[in-house]
């Protein structure tokens, strides 16, 4: 009988995936270390999607445990369940299992920031009224200790009616194993008791529920009581009549706004709890804290803000160059290889001029986009974006907005789509729509390829003082974008969106060193989205544009060229022959392009853009760019590569040698500056239009935005070209 020997391997090592048995939701204040802990628990086993019907991103992931696996839903960071913002509503709906395609969580993991227990315990009280099992992860305990804050977890647990509390340091992973073990049994534990801060609120709600015909959730009744004259109160008033609801409200809140009374009750309780739980040791302020305090003073903070912005733009342009040269060289090598191994004709042209040139000219800007997103994510993760909102509140107020609009607008320098979604945090509806319409003016990463190309090609690489002229033009374009956006908001707030000034109340998170894992996960997310776009939409548009530029082929031109070649070969030899052959080939290619579908479309539209100094090729590229502006560079690459068969030169050289039929150069400085301004102001992005439609829930705003921005871009380019050409 053969002896069998069993080898035991830890499950972690062989990577067995257990099936998900339960769903939990993770919730906490903004900047409480929630995302860091979520990433720690789920690692790379996470997905990002959208909740159906709303634009709040749904992050979920799987936690692999000793004997089971848990699906963890990362809810947006919020301060209360007030129900004003989309984030707060979604938190409630997800917890109660009312969100389509999302499992109802059987428990909550609440993140309490040890340095911000005051606000954290406020949200926790509201969650305790939801009748869902809760465990608490106490994060930032290391930061709290460094600040001399001593927290007695036992006392806190007793004050919270026995809710389990697990101290963790998400950055190092300390305490994580104990938390994971506890996660397995959250669902079995009993829902917490009603918080002692204001039991009357829950009691009133429970009493009203008993009188309803269709049973309601306690949290919905509480929300109905707290928010008169809102959609929250309708279902309750329909069931019980508005008189009973109003009487209950008066008994609870008197004449003051309900939420104000709620805040007084809850925070009074929090202060009593903190008095017993938390001890602050007298501390000498450390050097780092002193420096940060000094940097937050009005002038240093403002100077720092502009220095940070300057650094970002500098980095985007100079750090990316080596990587971009590498990608350029790789694309050229691939094209040369294909051209050498395939017979000349449609297929070879398709691969080199269509696929490689089209996709390559977009991918080349990946380094710049990477750097830009890296900065935005680092600023967000370190808490600096909120600081920027604080510093810029005054400026934003002058155009009728608040500092809250700064965060969407800064994000818009990376991409308007997430920026428009970020406008959700703005509570005032008018200010929110004005922000949404101003955000697409900010220079997004998709505009950079066109800026980079045209500036490198036509703005002299000279120094003005200690500044570079190319850098100055780029800075000017960013400023034009900001100016256009702010002016638009100002106009709208005085006309269609006139209303009271939006208020500004927000917590300013402390500076925190960004977490490497969080930053890299977010960055990979953005890169994936960009490459997916490059690989799908941009790829398809590049192929279509190549086809439009290649077909139909005119046999006459081909035969004419063959005859000319034969004739030349019999009369010339050596160097002169090669030059003449090249000239004939170029002319033939240009003639083919001129009579192609794209050439005809460009010529058809040319009169519209002629006052701006654009020839039919530029016009064709602009037309092709309306679905997605980053395509424009790809289209130009295709147009000029197909129409110009000189030796492999970069697109820059091809643009420089482009001429009108009479030999004048097309790309003069006024024309280029006008074209740049057109791109700064024009809304060439179907994704942005779609997200405006979704966020404003009407077609009116996307149609307005598109028309308005196109007219503005056209007018700007017209003025610059016409005035510039006469100087």
């Amino acid at each position: 009988m053969a002896e069998t020997s069993a080898i035991y391997v830890p499950v972690e090592k062989i990577g067995i995936r257990r099936r998900v048995s339960t769903t939990l939701a993770i919730i906490g204040n903004p900047n409480s270390g929630k995302s860091t802990l979520f990433n720690r628990l789920t690692g790379l086993r996470q997905t990002t999607a959208n909740y159906p019907g709303v634009t709040v991103e749904k992050h979920s992931g799987t936690v692999q445990l000793e004997s089971s696996a848990i699906e963890l839903i990362d809810l947006p960071g919020i301060y209360c369940l007030g129900g004003h913002s989309a984030d707060e509503r979604i938190a409630v709906d997800v917890i109660l299992g009312r969100m389509a395609d999302t499992h109802a969580p059987s428990g909550l993991l609440m993140i309490l920031d040890a340095t911000q227990l005051y606000q954290g315990l406020y949200l926790l009280q509201q969650l305790m009224e939801m009748q869902v099992p809760i465990i608490v992860a106490l994060t930032m305990t290391d930061v709290a200790t460094a600040k001399g804050i001593d927290i007695s977890i036992e006392v806190l647990q007793r004050q919270l009616g026995g809710i389990q509390i697990f101290p963790v340091v998400a950055t190092t992973g300390r305490g994580l194993e104990a938390l994971k073990t506890a996660l397995e049994s959250v669902a079995e534990s009993a829902p917490p008791q009603v918080p002692e801060s204001w039991p009357e609120l829950s009691r009133t709600a429970d009493r009203l529920i008993q009188q309803t015909i269709t049973p309601m959730q306690r949290i919905d009744v509480i929300q109905a009581l707290l928010h008169p004259d809102s959609f929250h109160s309708k279902p309750l008033e329909r069931q019980l009549g508005s008189q009973l609801v109003t009487d209950s409200r008066n008994a609870l809140f008197g004449v003051e706004p309900p939420q104000a009374v709620e805040a007084r009750h809850r925070y009074q309780w929090v202060r009593t709890v903190l008095g017993e739980v938390q001890r602050q040791a007298p501390m000498l302020e450390r050097f780092e804290a002193k420096t940060l305090r000094w940097l937050n003073r009005p002038w240093p903070a403002t100077v720092l803000f502009f220095a940070v912005m300057a650094l970002i733009f500098q980095a985007v342009f100079s750090w990316a160059t080596p990587m971009m040269n590498g990608i350029d060289a790789a694309a050229a090598t691939m094209s040369a290889w294909v051209a050498a191994h395939l017979p000349a004709g449609a297929i070879s042209s398709f691969i080199t001029d269509g696929v490689i040139a089209g996709v390559g000219s977009v991918v080349i800007f990946l380094p710049q986009i990477l750097i830009l997103f890296l900065f935005i994510i680092v600023l967000e993760d370190s808490g600096y974006l909120a600081r920027a909102a604080f510093l810029m509140d005054r400026v934003m107020r002058s155009v009728g907005l608040s500092g809250q609009s700064v965060i969407p607008m800064l994000s818009s320098f990376a991409c308007a789509v997430p920026a428009i979604m970020a406008a959700r945090v703005i509570s005032d509806r008018r200010a929110r729509i004005a922000t949404i319409l101003a955000a697409p003016f900010m220079t997004c990463s998709a505009r950079l390829p066109i800026y980079a190309l045209l500036i490198a090609a036509f703005v002299p690489d000279e120094s003005v003082g200690w500044l570079n002229l190319q850098g100055l033009v780029l800075l000017g374009l960013y400023l034009m974008g900001i100016l256009g956006g702010l002016a638009t908001a100002w106009l709208l707030k005085r006309t269609a969106l006139r209303g009271p000034k939006p208020d500004f109340a927000m917590a300013l998170p402390e500076f925190r060193w960004p977490n490497l894992q969080t930053v890299s996960i977010k960055l990979m997310d953005r890169v994936r989205i960009f490459l997916r776009r490059a690989g799908t939409i941009i790829f398809v548009v590049a192929i279509i544009v190549w086809a439009l530029a290649y077909f139909p082929r005119d046999g006459g031109i081909e035969t004419g060229m063959q005859n000319a070649v034969v004739q030349l070969e019999s009369t010339l030899a050596g160097e002169p022959l090669a030059e003449e052959l090249l000239r004939i080939e170029n002319e033939a290619a240009a003639a083919q392009l001129a009579q192609s579908y794209l050439g005809r479309a460009g010529k058809f539209i040319e009169p519209v853009f002629a006052p701006l100094g654009w020839d039919w090729r530029v016009s064709a590229a602009v037309i092709a760019g309306f679905p997605a502006r980053e395509v424009v560079v790809a289209v130009m690459g295709t147009i000029y590569a197909v129409g110009d068969k000189a030796e492999v030169t970069s697109l820059v050289d091809k643009l420089r040698s482009a001429t009108w039929p009479d030999g004048r150069p097309v790309f003069t400085l006024p024309m280029v500056l006008g074209l740049l301004l057109f791109y700064a102001w024009c809304l060439q992005c179907a994704a942005t239009l779609a997200v405006i439609r979704r966020e404003t829930n009407s077609w009116r705003w996307p149609i307005f935005a598109w028309t308005y921005m196109t007219v503005l871009g056209y007018t700007g380019a017209l003025l610059i070209y016409q005035i510039g050409s006469r100087l």
């Binding site: 209360c80 003051e256 805040a263 925070y267 937050n296 009005p298 903070a301 604080f390 109340a505 917590a507």
Partner: protein
């Protein structure tokens, strides 16, 4: 005295909040309620908005709203 008149570094206790004024409730939800002890930290250029801290959390508040918070100074222990 109201929050408006605070000096940098000064510590005060909130005595009365006029909750019915615009933009005040949102500040109360963040913890600026009666009984809370707060410190004036900083301001943006021009002194508006202001940054105050309550239990270690910094909160931004515009001068207009700051006028709706009556406060009494606390004796600073250094």
């Amino acid at each position: 005295m109201t929050l408006r008149e605070m000096q940098p570094g000064q510590k005060v206790r909130i005595e009365k909040v006029d909750a019915r004024q615009p933009g005040v409730v949102r500040l109360m939800v963040l913890g600026l309620v009666e009984g809370a002890e707060i410190q004036f930290e900083n301001a943006a250029i021009g002194g508006d908005p202001m940054e105050v801290s309550v239990f270690g959390t910094a909160i931004s508040i515009r001068k207009q709203q700051a006028g709706y918070f009556s406060v009494s100074p606390l004796v600073s222990n250094g």
